[in-house]
Subunit: 135 residues, 2 copies
């Protein structure tokens, strides 16, 4: 749970010039992302063990930072207008294994170890309503 956003590299107890930028690795990671007009990117959450797509939710820069620094998934709720950690009430948390941006930097793929069902309806994945099949 130690925040990394205040990590400064080098210069500890030294007066020597520090050529490294005073940004953390987490902030560097977030800088490359392209958030939409509302400051959000969709985050696809996938089970790291078997590849099942569990859910899609939204992250702003702060939710990405929290996800990277805590190792749990944090999202921005557009309807409730607040941050939420997956499993904060249900206990069905997601242990983050990796976070990957797509080629445009406007979508994230978060691979997790899911505790319990991912969906609030009790199903393992939120994707459980078949629309039809291709030809």
């Amino acid at each position: 749970m130690a925040p990394m956003s205040e990590v400064h590299t080098g210069g500890r107890g030294s007066s020597a010039p520090n050529p490294l930028p005073l940004t953390s690795t987490v902030d560097d990671a977030v800088v490359g992302l392209k958030f939409d007009a509302a400051g959000l990117v969709p985050a696809v959450v996938q089970d790291d063990r078997d590849g099942i797509v569990l859910m899609v939710a939204w992250m702003d820069a702060e939710a990405v930072r929290r996800t990277l620094t805590t190792g749990r998934t944090w999202f921005w709720s557009r309807s409730r207008r607040r941050y939420w950690q997956k499993g904060e009430t249900s206990g069905h948390v997601q242990h983050v294994r990796s976070v990957t941006a797509d080629c445009d930097g406007d979508t994230l793929l978060v691979r997790v170890e899911q505790v319990g069902p991912a969906c609030h309806t009790g199903t393992r994945s939120c994707f459980s309503h078949p629309l039809g099949s291709g030809s």
Copy 2:
């Protein structure tokens, strides 16, 4: 490639009243979706064979209909403001195996058989930029 949007159920060669609504299965499927203010839902495209998440793009109701009726993925390009079929120029088409909505009806999961690389950069998946790993 036979369009399903004109399919009517029942009443074939019969003058009996048809209690079924004159909507197609495709339109029925689209009706249940919750499109955002721009009329779009994000569509997560996953390789049906090994579960790799290939890309995320956007569909409006018409793109969903085209995807369901043609068995190929169709999207709405927000930047170019036009429909595009995945692989229409590259040949790297996606054969649709299933389309599933999530519990809120505001996101789609499309499982496909991908021809060639999914990403325009030539990589198999568009998700190839690691941001960092969880704790």
